[in-house]
Symmetry: C2
Subunit: 415 residues, 2 copies
């Protein structure tokens, strides 16, 4: 025993790396997260985050509901639940989606997830074989790339313009693939007020996308966390609305219309798909937080959600406006940006040759932070873009932040 | 457009199976879950579940804490959190574990997870390469097998007796493997009041296990959901207590000492391991439910946990006693069972030749349900065992249930 302990001490610390799986060795922390950790501690104006404003959380409503749930439903709300989710919540969401998006819910089933992020991981697990082609928008949601990457797909990027994903280019790419005897497994789209680009796919393109899915035989994963946050313009129905075959797997979340801390998302899809995703989830976490699901159920079923959405919109609209006005006022020639009708983000494109990862430190020095755009591209091949958030910081700080950013970019463009 | 729609209708429903990944095609729903669905709707006495009794949930405490959290900490409790978990909770758990288990927490870091089940999935993801050997107890926790299986390990089973895993047999197996130039990646143990067997690994074997881990260079995953539920006998320190190298990854959970609906578990391990598991979790769900983490923090930090545990014990002890007494009174010759000093389960072994999956329907017909033991063995090679739960059903029903079960088994043994 003594001798063994000596050996241990001689050998020194374990070589921890030696135990990790091959895939784990390749897992890297997000550089952006690491960068942002620095920002949090300084007095930099951060337009980098992706957080909703806590002022939009219906705290008083949550307090009342939490009381009621613990009075009347504690036994269920504190117990294990079924993997598919709390049934009254699943039914309330089905009814809400039917009303709101005119969806034919008879052929659609709903399951709940630990936020949309878990849904992305589950979809990766259930659909992606290594080498499968997954189409994504360029740029696309960074954490979706991270979720899918574990399952080793090949990504195919589809460019966007102000009307969202350019479906004609997608069609061309699909045609070429077909000529090579290949096809895509699924396409991932953040269809409305996209993260990071802020743009919305037009209705025409939504219809076209569904047609292409039929013709070229693939699935559509529609991630829709932002569509309720519309500050101007006319609503557009989800891609799922135009789907009569069951090819669209729709992801919703409470993170932007209730509070992200509850980690409640949902998947609305054809029952065959739901069944398999449910089995996959069973091995991953047994079930989603029941207490939060019961709260979310009351929030939807008692009409709080429909009353809260307009308040959130009124809160965010001035921030969106402040950012667009400040961009207009301060940005130098050669800088372009999207004009989102909703959501949380503006996407900025600089003249070719400017690398926003290189300008990041200069911006920090000037007291403003953004997210460099590179990581939002599956191929990491675009350097001159950035994402700005307008939901977390108040109007005056947004204006000041954009002013500072414009100064940095002006120097950069001149120099 | 018309033509395309016609084609769709002609083609009929999608072939959903065609889109699933290879691994997803192999995923099957747990038979037991399917069986138990039938039981829920009838008036069978179910000793099959694994649920804590809702009477042990500290509802009033939770209500007070939830109020306080929404009054004082709402902005944080409802917002996204860090992947590693809510820091005050992580610190409170470190302090609690140090006091309770005499752990040297200076070299140990804590992260929170969506229940222990997510920790099992994360450990599979971070450590298992396809073909890696993972040692498990025989029998072992069914949902751990399910979590690990996705990552395609080879399981090596180690038999148990009343003192838990038989470490001498483990040593023999390790020696043989070594002679073949092989080793195991990790061993998974539910060290105290094991699920399903109810037995506890002796202190001597705990020390031996840590020694073997050093000598044969593997990691120990210690899953410890039940140790606080001790109804008799003397406490034993976790395997982690005897670990001076950082080889033990310890899993804790609030599911049995607060409420499972919160889905809050934690991992206590060497910081290098935590760092990698944290990166893996980031892609899976960003962070664990913040609201529930803040509630759990107050529950631990304000001493509620230490006051609640004795109440839970007082509630469960008569149920454990009722089951052991009824087994003694009613069971026919040839039936053996474990005598757990805590936890939730008794493990029953019948004479060879009886298949508890075959007797299940007879038992249901008599009005009692159990879990057939086969699925708790990695190799599914043991047919004559069953798991009984004593936490969910009141004493009189436990007695009646065991009586009915004994009748079924008596006939079976005679027949």
């Amino acid at each position: 025993m003594e001798e063994k302990l000596m050996k241990k001490l001689e050998a020194g610390a374990l070589n921890f790396e030696a135990y990790f799986s091959e895939k784990a060795l390749g897992m890297k922390a997000s550089e952006i997260r690491e960068l942002l950790k620095l920002v949090e501690t300084s007095d930099v104006i951060s337009l980098a985050g992706g957080l909703p404003a806590p002022e939009t959380f219906p705290i008083e409503t949550i307090r009342e509901i939490a009381q009621e749930v613990l009075e009347k439903h504690a036994d269920r709300a504190l117990q294990y639940g079924t993997t598919k989710g709390y049934t009254p919540l699943r039914l309330a969401l089905a009814e809400w989606m039917r009303k709101r998006y005119d969806l034919p819910m008879s052929k659609v089933e709903i399951m709940t997830t630990a936020g949309s992020q878990q849904a992305l991981d589950l979809i990766g697990r259930v659909f992606i074989n290594p080498g499968d082609i997954v189409a994504v928008e360029a740029p696309t949601y960074l954490a979706a790339l991270n979720a899918f990457r574990y399952y080793e797909p090949r990504f195919m990027s589809v460019p966007m313009d102000d009307d969202g994903m350019i479906t004609d280019i997608l069609e061309e790419k699909l045609r070429k693939l077909k000529a090579e005897g290949k096809k895509i497994k699924f396409i991932y789209t953040v269809s409305t007020f996209q993260n990071p680009a802020g743009v919305t796919m037009s209705e025409e393109r939504r219809k076209k996308l569904v047609e292409l899915a039929h013709e070229y035989d693939f699935i559509i994963v529609e991630d829709n966390p932002y569509s309720e946050l519309r500050y101007s313009g006319k609503p557009v129905k989800p891609v799922k609305h135009f789907d009569d075959e069951g090819r669209v797997i729709y992801l919703g979340t409470f993170s932007k219309i209730l509070a992200p801390g509850f980690r409640i998302g949902w998947i609305a899809a054809e029952p065959h798909f739901i069944r398999k995703i449910e089995i996959a989830k069973q091995a991953i976490d047994l079930c989603t937080n029941t207490f939060s699901q019961v709260i979310a159920w009351k929030y939807v079923a008692d009409g709080h959600l429909d009353r809260q959405i307009p308040k959130i919109i009124e809160f965010y609209r001035p921030r969106r406006n402040a950012m667009l006005e400040a961009l207009e006022e301060y940005m130098p020639e050669g800088v372009k940006w999207t004009k989102p009708e909703g959501g949380m983000f503006v996407w900025v494109t600089l003249p070719e040759g400017i690398d926003t990862k290189m300008t990041f430190e200069k911006a920090i020095a000037k007291g403003v932070a953004y997210v460099p755009g590179e990581a939002f591209f599956a191929e990491r091949n675009v350097k001159n873009t950035m994402r700005l958030n307008f939901t977390y910081v108040p109007e005056d700080k947004i204006r000041e932040g954009i002013k500072r950013l414009a100064e940095v970019l002006e120097e950069e463009i001149k120099g």
